[in-house]
């Protein structure tokens, strides 16, 4: 844990650095017409970590918090799938509720749960416990469809942000990576007025 704590990194510089490195290495453009994601490219990464089921390529275990870049070969695989082919769990953690939806890498929806579908009402939906039960039930439905490894995308700063991921893990799904997709407007729409309490 010490080694991890000593690594200070900035996500903006991550993008720039890895983009430059990958572009220099590939020689081809990685970005589509509008920056559309290229999901069927090869992977590589300088430092890799293997799950127990996957084969060990190096004797020394090195783990990197950075995800495998699309466009570089990576020896990482989870259940025989590359990072790009793993299904994605979208967790929308609003202040009043938490929605969990599982989609596969092509974009087809598979499982959808929320605190409301678990039987919670009104204020009880905006609790970490409710989101944990939603996570557990989503994981149960997903394992019934044959899903084991999964990437998580979190949106919003709500009470169920961490406990939904914990619920997924408790329900039996293996979380491979956590992405934060909280929408940050660059001064777009004007939010509602400040509350005076």
């Amino acid at each position: 844990m010490f080694k991890f704590n000593c690594v200070l990194f900035n996500s903006a510089s991550i993008v720039c650095r890895q983009f430059v490195a990958s572009l220099n290495g590939n020689g081809t453009s990685l970005v589509g017409s509008r920056g559309t994601p290229l999901q069927r490219t090869l992977f590589s990464s300088a430092v890799r970590h293997q799950e127990a089921e996957a084969s060990e390529t190096k004797s020394g275990k090195e783990f990197s918090f950075y995800p495998p870049m699309p466009g570089q070969d990576s020896a990482l695989s989870w259940g025989g799938k590359k990072f790009d082919e793993l299904p994605i769990v979208h967790i929308k953690a609003t202040y009043n509720n938490t929605h969990i939806q599982l989609i596969d890498s092509t974009g087809q929806p598979m499982v959808r749960t929320s605190c409301g579908t678990e039987g919670f009402k009104n204020i009880k939906k905006s609790t970490p416990i409710a989101s944990q039960t939603a996570g557990i039930s989503a994981a149960a439905k997903a394992t019934a469809k044959g899903v084991t490894f999964v990437r998580v995308v979190v949106k919003g700063l709500g009470p169920g942000r961490l406990s939904a991921i914990k619920g997924l893990a408790m329900g039996g799904l293996e979380v491979v990576s956590i992405t934060d997709n909280t929408p940050v407007p660059h001064n777009g729409c004007r939010p509602r007025k400040a509350r005076r309490m």
Binding site: S11, P37, H49, F63, V175, S177, I178, R190, A194
Partner: protein
């Protein structure tokens, strides 16, 4: 974020099923990039006069803290070379 490549920025891998470590790392990255407090601040509209007051306050606070840390570091430094050496 739909116009950017996905799973590059703001992404951490989970080491050995240790979700707490990954979440802590993600949180650390987000706070260092100022995303967490930007999101909290933009939940409600901040009028321009309040925004100017806040920026002024944060500027003064930053100056005060850096000066105080400098003073403390100077005072707590004990391994100086001997100024009276050789006389």
């Amino acid at each position: 974020m739909s116009r950017h490549l996905r799973f590059i920025a703001r992404t951490v891998m989970v080491p050995d099923g240790n979700i707490d470590a990954a979440y802590k790392a993600l949180n650390r990255v987000l706070t260092q990039d100022g995303i967490i407090d930007t999101v909290k601040r933009k939940r409600y509209y901040e009028k321009p006069c309040r925004e100017r007051q806040r920026k002024n306050f944060e500027r003064c606070r930053r100056i005060y803290h850096s000066e105080m840390a400098r003073k403390l570091a100077f005072i707590s430094k004990t391994d100086r070379e001997d100024p009276w050496l050789g006389c």
